[in-house]
Symmetry: D2
Subunit: 258 residues, 4 copies
């Protein structure tokens, strides 16, 4: 029996999220709606906690990150308030093997910009019409058990050109009522970590209560989890390596069944 995946759901959770129309859709905050979905679908396979910007160390002290297998990130209006120190802590953990799932408006979060290297800009229009999410990689574990397409009745439009690196694996492509398309489910590997961007999920609509969206997020957590990252010391420095350096090392650690 393998240990449960340790998941942290982070939300900026500003005052306006607590006291606005958003609170009608997500009375306990987006983070708790997302966390509840993961608990329902992953059951004992995951241990899920939440964190918010207003907490000490912006909710992500080193001790939390060190015990997080997969981090989900929801932010929109407070990207600038996230400090460089927080971004660096998250980034180091991703390169060392922590999974990262970036949601919706997180496309402009500092951590996503930092890992992508591009502007991550896109076109948008908040008119609350239909989004259809089509699977283009049915062999991918993130697409397991979801219909083709996922129908989301009300959603903000996100449209191309989306200025991201070509995904290592493109899982979903969306269309919108206005005719736009969007690469809405994108996988990347960075160092020993895996990153998934999923665009459905505006705060104005009950997207995170949608059973298929919840399924995608549960699948994404399972995919992003890297329980035994390969030893890659070169992610922290560039070592001078004498001839035959790889022959003198101690024998490989014992491996256990997955």
């Amino acid at each position: 029996m393998s240990a449960p995946v340790s998941v942290t759901v982070w939300n900026e959770y500003l005052d306006q999220q607590r006291h606005s129309r958003i609170a009608e859709v997500y009375p306990h905050g987006l983070h708790n709606a997302i966390a509840d979905g993961l608990r329902d679908l992953l059951g004992e396979g995951a241990s899920v906690r939440t964190a918010t910007l207003g907490e000490p160390d912006q909710g992500l002290p080193q001790a939390t990150l060190d015990t997080t297998d997969v981090l989900l990130w929801w932010g929109h209006h407070a990207h600038d308030e996230v400090t460089t120190a927080t971004v660096q802590r998250v980034r180091q953990r991703v390169l060392a093997g922590m999974g990262l799932v970036v949601l919706h408006s997180g496309h402009l979060s500092k951590i996503f910009l930092d890992l992508m290297g591009t502007s991550c800009n896109l076109r948008w229009r908040n008119d609350g019409r239909q989004e259809l999410v089509w699977t283009v990689s049915p062999a991918h574990p993130i697409a397991r058990g979801v219909p083709h397409p996922i129908v989301i009745d009300q959603q903000e439009m996100y449209g191309e050109f989306f200025d991201i690196p070509q995904p290592d694996e493109l899982v979903f492509v969306s269309s919108f009522a206005g005719g736009e398309v969007f690469r809405s489910g994108c996988c990347y590997r960075r160092g020993a970590g895996r990153v998934f961007y999923f665009s459905p999920g505006d705060e104005d609509y009950p997207v995170y209560h949608h059973p298929d969206v919840r399924r995608v997020l549960a699948n994404a957590v399972t995919w992003a989890h890297n329980p035994q990252p390969a030893t890659v010391p070169t992610t922290t420095h560039s070592p001078d390596s004498p001839d035959g350096w790889f022959r003198e090392r101690p024998s490989a650690p014992p491996v256990t069944s997955p």
Copy 2:
């Protein structure tokens, strides 16, 4: 608790494999050495059987394929004896979601040629010197728990140019004593199925007894297993689809925790 992965290890297992120098290295055939490695490492997580060319339906009747989650393929001298019917049965199952792990000289097997669309030719030299297998994708599950590099003391040289499509994910690159390099661990998705090619494993050397090679194969089985392939009816035909075809379907089947 999920069901064990149903694995079939196929070997051409010709007479010369039974009665030659190979039999000293693999007294019960390569397939049984490979199967034993999977049983040791995956334990109750897998149910492993073997099949050979000389059996009815070339060891792969429809009933076997229909109950196989992941097929491993070892062939060398008898590629031409595999019938078109066998290749088509395997191919259909791969596109429908069965995993396929192609080993070593299987690069010229009909099924691999068919799924790749290229010549799959390469350079080779059977001089039994050292191969080093380097991980270039530490975030990939197939690289879990293997040293960097894997040191194989005696192996046939396989060298570039290897005429394959660019892999969806390149996991391993090997170097050889003669200075050649080779893309030795390559992932592809085809339809709803996943394909992994792994080059180490000549019949003249005890490569499949090597603990790190066994670990790679166990990881590959876990990766290639697609327990709940997305519904992709278009892999069997190109349907005329009336406007709104996706709205009239019955509600999605109930999804269960992975």
Copy 3:
């Protein structure tokens, strides 16, 4: 001054294409409409000829292929009439460096199926409504000079899931009036050759008279042209290569400026 690109535009050009509604849209056949577009846009940079199924050797004798840098392929109802011999001749030339541009219903041509290794099935509906073709790779030469999106007023719907290998480079994604999406511009490398699939272009609509579609095809010819393929003898066999084989070769041929 480099030599003009030698282009061959192939069309099945059946009787019904000569004597039907199609003939109103394309009085001289689709192949001549396509060829005219290339001549207009590439000028002295290209030498363009046409070929059809009814000609000797199905329009593609070895001598034609040997002097073709880029082949465009349009077929729909006569895929089965193309012989294995023709497919093999084309395939060998692609792996040796000839470019191949596969158009619209050519997704089920034998040569495309052969090079992809998948079923290449898709969903379709011929209702003659709007297709929008969005650029998702603005750094790609095939996207040069085309608007975002290309608006095609009347077109057949082609929808996902499109059962192809993940493209090496995805250039265009289309949306349709019915809400479907489609990966409509896909690049692949096979051996020393380059393959581009472009879906807009039904015979019922004047798509190949559209200035932006003509621009895409001209760009595709330029991209697919590989004037000096790397020497890759292993695309024709798998040579036994003695230690140091690469040191004894004659000096490299003189290279000339592009």
Copy 4:
């Protein structure tokens, strides 16, 4: 006749480069050796200038960047001296369509780190032994006219794991006398720009005088040049886009033959 490609070769060119053993190998600096190679091979097809860190605006004022089609970058000991402002100017131009060729120790330059999003660390050993550069993508224009392998008699070892995103196109893989391998030629697209990393080229050895290395750099300039970048306003901001925004635009600009 198209305009020549405007190329700028940038070198940190510190005092020690001017007055050391390096000056014996490159008496006029690495930048001039590289520039001479491009002029010899591209002839009238390119207009080549050089720039160094000690010049005003670190050699890269906006006016220079605005008139540069492809920038080559050589740096090693002065990465930290490159200012954030310089990095931002270069980055904006890359996303807007300027090509960037990053050389050897430039793997740790700020601009490369910024565009990759990873640590870009690697293993190294400066023992001046042989590097073999193998082509793994013979259809790629950067591999045109180079032997397989390129033999470089004396070179610093750069070895995996190289912490980069999976390349969009992997063109070269190197082996070293010590048995290490390295992804030595890697293509990326970022925004409307193209980036090529090429590792051969230490300052201690006459690598940039090697005819095959010069050929690779000339090919890389041609490949990285994007003469007519697609219009992608979303690389500079994320615009609110009213329904049908793409229908009201003025007609497409006239396109000209390439």
